[in-house]
Assembly symmetry: C2
């Protein structure tokens, strides 16, 4: 919870929240996608995603356009500004991570992430 609070604080200073980061990072990793795909990948409910995409488009960080191949869909695309913001947030989050993990040695950090990775992968989507 304390780590979470620090993350939120620092993201706020960069005019962002966790959801914004999640969407930007997902678009960067998997490329342009519909809102439904983003919802699946980020675990953000499609109802909440609407507002997030609104905010990101208002900041010019993503582009929302109807998908010509399926007119029910919106295609969300990462813009240059979005890519810049993502790099910025990556930096911010790396700093917080360093701060949070400060008391652990490199070996211990690897142990911790390995253990947590096992947990996440074990109970995948459903749980």
């Amino acid at each position: 919870m304390q780590a979470d609070r620090r993350v939120n604080e620092e993201l706020a200073r960069a005019d962002a929240r966790k959801w914004h980061f999640a969407v930007l990072a997902t678009l960067d990793e998997f490329g342009a996608a519909s809102q439904a795909e983003l919802s699946d990948r980020t675990r953000i409910y499609r109802s909440d995603l609407v507002a997030v995409i609104n905010e990101l488009t208002a900041r010019g960080q993503v582009d929302r356009a109807p998908d010509p191949a399926d007119r029910r869909r919106n295609l969300i695309t990462l813009t240059q500004a979005g890519r810049r913001q993502l790099r910025e947030l990556d930096k911010v989050l790396a700093e917080v991570e360093e701060e949070v993990l400060a008391p652990l040695s490199p070996v211990e950090r690897k142990q911790l992430t390995d253990l947590l990775t096992v947990l996440v992968e074990h109970h995948g989507q459903p749980m």
Copy 2:
């Protein structure tokens, strides 16, 4: 987040939330206390604690009475029903923990809790 969701689900089935558990457990560990002390120990804001204590008294799990030694204070006391509920919640949470940590061996579980303990103790209250 998935573990948190499971915890919330199971607590809800026992007619409780995380805050209720936190207060009951703290009263059990440190004995009767004022709301301000509970706020310090549980990290629940004193403004939110009011409602939690209201709910716990409504369920008969704690008792709220003015402290004769300092009439600004309310003394919160664990009742028998509160102790019973705490034991119940302990059981529920142990089950969820077992479920969450299922893929880890006993040694790995100890590693994980040790690492997390280091983190929590390193950045104590402030952070």
